[in-house]
Point group: C2
C-alpha cells in the first residue's frame, strides 16, 4: 500500500474538507452568492494576515503576486534595494530588472541572514526594499520587524515575500509597518496552488496610484476598484476560493496565535530530532515552516529524497541551484501535526540508516517525542 | 428544492468527474508523477485545439493569457490592429495601449461582424492583428479563416481570443494559419476558472524571441523552456490541471469533430426556439457557444435573468456595458446536452410569460424538440 505524505516547502497538504470544496459545482462570479463568499474570504484573510489593510486575491501562482508587488509600487526611474540570499531574493531582483529599474543588490551567502547594517547603509538611495520572510530555498528567516524599523517612518516602502511564511511564522503587517505582503495559497494557507495575495497599506496604495509601469492583469488598482463592488476584475478561480475559505475558517477556529505556536513547537521538534541523529541545520536563522538540512558527507541529498518518498512515503525536496544534492528540505507548514513530524523523522532515520549515515537509529524519534512532551503538543 | 444549472457564457458547467479530480490530494509539481500528467494534458490539448503547435498552460484567468499574447508578440514601436466590437475587443485595445503600442482600432457596432475589407485597408500598417473568435459580450462569431487569409503568408501575426469559442466553434490554427490562439479553462473546455492557454506557431515563437516588452510571469519563453523539461516555470495549479485532463479526455473520447457538431446542433435548437417565442437574436453572426437575445420592448433583461435563476433554476447572464438591461445571453458550451437546452427554454418561456411577453407558451420547447429530432441529437 502506498500512502504518500507531502512534506515539501510547498505545495503543502490540503485538508480533505477544503479539497472537497473544490469539487463543488462552479458558481458564477457576478452573483450575490459569490459576493457573499468573497466578502467572507476577505474577512478571514485579514485574521490570518493579522491586518486591517487591503488584501487582493489574484488567480496566479505566487510569482504573479510578486510581479504585481514590483509593477505596482514603483515608477520609472525608481530604485530598488533587494536582499538576495536565495532563489526568491533572486526572483525579486529579476523582476525589478525586468521592469528596467535600477536595482541595488545585497548579496547574502545562502543559509545566512542579512545583516541589518548592510540595509541601513544603502537604504537612503532607494524607494523600495524587497526581501523575504522565509527564503524557501534556504529556510532562512529574515528579521522583518527590524527592517520595517528602517522604513516605516520614511517615504520608502518595505515589500515582503511571505509566500513560505505567512500563516506559519510571526508577521505583523500593521504593528510592524510592513507596506506590502505577498503570499500564496499553497503553503501555510492550506490550499492547492493557483491563488496569490497582495496585502497593501495606505502608503503602498498611494504609490500604486503613482506607478506608471505597464501592467494590466496585475494592475492592483483594478482589483481595488472591483473589490469595492464585492468582485474581482477578472474571472476569479471560484473553486480555489471556496477551498481557501474552508481552510481559512479552520485557521480562524484554531486562532492564528495558536497556529503560529503550533508551527513553532513542531519546527523545534523537527530541528532537535535532526540534530539528535548527527545532522546539521543548513540555515543559521531557522524558520518555523521549512527546515533545510545539510546532507552528511558522502550522502547525495537527491538520493535521500528519492528513498524517503519511494520507500517510506514521505515527499520532501532537495536543494535548488548550487545546493542540489547538498541539502534536503523538510517542510512543516499548514496542515501539520506532531503525527506528521514523527512520520517524517521515522522516514528520514530509516533512509539515513540505509545510506549508512553514522547515528543511533531511533534517537531522532526519541528526541521528537520528548519535545512534544515538553511543549505539551 | 433548489437545483441551479449554469448556462452562462462562462464559467460553464464542469462534469462531476472533473470536479472530483480537483478534490484529489495535491501532488508536488517537480516529480515524474506531475510530468506524466503534464505531458498527457499537453497531448490532449493538442487534440482539442486541433494543432501541432506549442500550447502553454498558465495559472491565471483568460485575461492573463490575453496579456501574454500582447506582451510576447510585439516589441517597442510595433503597431497593432484591433477589431473592437465588444468588451473583449476593447480588452485587446486596452492591453495594447497599456504597453504603449500604437493601436489602430476598427470599431464595429456591437452585434455586427467586422467587414473583411476594413481589415484589408489597414493591415499593411501593422505588425499584429488582434481579434476574437466569439465576442463573449455580443455572441458574434468572426470569420477567422478569412482574416487568416490576409496574414498567413506575410510577416504579420494574427492573434485570436478564442476564450469563448475554443472547443465549441470551428477553429483550425494549423490549417488556417492562425499564429496565436488564446483560450481559458472555464468555457467549452469544461473546467473551473483559473487556467489559461496560449497556443503559438513557429512564426509567433520567432516574434516571442524578439519581443522586448517587460514581462516575467507571462514571459512565454520561460514556459517554452520549462516545457522542454516537462515542467512549468512557476508552481502550476495542480488541481485544476488534473481536472482539465479529465475534461479533455472526455472531449477526446467524444472526438472534437463530434463535439463541435453537437454545439452546432444545440445552438441551432436554441436559436430556433428563441425565434419561435417571438424573440430576436442580437447577433448578426451567431455563434455556437453563446446566444444573446434582445429583451422584448418593455421587458428589463436584468429582471428576466433574475427570475430565470431564482424561480426556475437556470443561471444565464445579461448584457454588459451599454447593453445592460437590453439583452440577455444564453450560454451553451462545453458540458451541454439537449436536456440542458430544453430546461433553459422552459425557464425562459415561463419567465417571459410572467413578464407578459406576447407569445404562445410552449412554442419554444416545441420548436426545440423538433430541431432535436431533425438533427438526430
Amino acid at each position: 500500500m502506498k500512502k504518500t505524505i507531502l512534506m515539501t516547502p510547498g505545495p503543502s497538504q490540503v485538508p480533505p474538507e477544503s479539497l472537497l470544496k473544490e469539487a463543488e459545482p462552479v458558481i458564477h462570479h457576478r452573483t450575490p452568492e459569490f459576493s457573499k463568499l468573497f466578502q467572507e474570504v476577505n474577512e478571514n484573510l485579514k485574521h490570518v494576515f493579522r491586518t486591517n489593510n487591503e488584501i487582493f486575491i489574484i488567480a496566479s501562482s505566487g510569482t504573479g503576486a510578486l510581479e504585481a508587488a514590483v509593477s505596482n509600487t514603483l515608477k520609472k526611474g525608481d530604485k530598488a534595494l533587494v536582499v538576495v540570499g536565495g532563489k526568491f531574493g533572486e526572483r525579486w531582483r529579476d523582476l525589478c530588472k525586468t521592469y528596467g529599474l535600477e536595482t541595488i543588490e545585497i548579496n547574502v551567502e545562502w543559509g545566512k541572514r542579512v545583516d541589518l547594517e548592510r540595509i541601513r547603509e544603502k537604504i537612503n538611495d532607494v524607494n523600495v526594499v524587497f526581501t523575504t520572510l522565509v527564503e524557501t530555498s534556504t529556510g532562512v528567516l529574515t528579521d522583518i520587524k527590524a527592517i520595517a524599523g528602517l522604513t516605516r517612518n520614511t517615504e520608502r516602502l518595505l515589500v515582503v515575500d511571505a509566500v513560505s511564511g505567512l500563516g506559519g511564522e510571526d508577521l505583523r503587517p500593521d504593528e510592524w509597518g510592513i507596506d506590502v505582503v505577498v503570499a500564496g495559497s499553497q503553503k501555510a494557507l492550506m490550499v492547492a496552488p493557483g491563488l496569490s495575495f497582495v496585502c497593501v497599506n495606505e502608503k503602498a496604495i498611494k504609490r500604486m496610484e503613482e506607478s506608471n509601469l505597464p501592467k494590466f492583469y496585475f494592475d492592483l488598482k483594478k482589483y481595488k476598484k472591483s473589490k469595492e463592488k464585492g468582485e474581482t476584475p477578472f474571472t476569479p478561480s471560484v473553486s480555489l476560493i471556496k477551498s481557501l475559505n474552508e481552510s481559512l475558517k479552520m485557521i480562524k477556529a484554531e486562532g492564528i496565535e495558536n497556529v503560529l505556536e503550533r508551527h513553532k513547537k513542531l519546527a523545534r521538534a523537527t530541528r532537535e530530532a535532526v540534530k539528535a541523529i548527527n545532522l546539521e541545520l543548513f540555515s543559521e536563522s531557522p524558520s518555523n515552516t521549512v527546515t533545510p538540512v545539510d546532507a552528511p558527507e558522502g550522502i547525495d541529498a537527491e538520493e535521500l529524497v528519492k528513498i524517503m518518498e519511494q520507500k517510506h512515503g514521505i515527499k520532501i525536496t532537495g536543494g535548488q541551484e548550487h545546493l542540489k544534492g547538498k541539502i534536503f528540505r523538510l517542510g512543516h507548514m499548514g496542515y501539520i501535526t506532531k503525527n506528521d513530524i514523527i512520520q517524517m523523522i521515522t522516514a528520514l532515520e530509516l533512509t539515513l540508516s540505509e545510506l549508512r549515515h553514522n547515528f543511533e537509529l531511533g534517537n531522532g524519534v526519541k528526541k521528537a517525542i520528548q519535545v512534544f512532551k515538553e511543549e505539551d503538543i
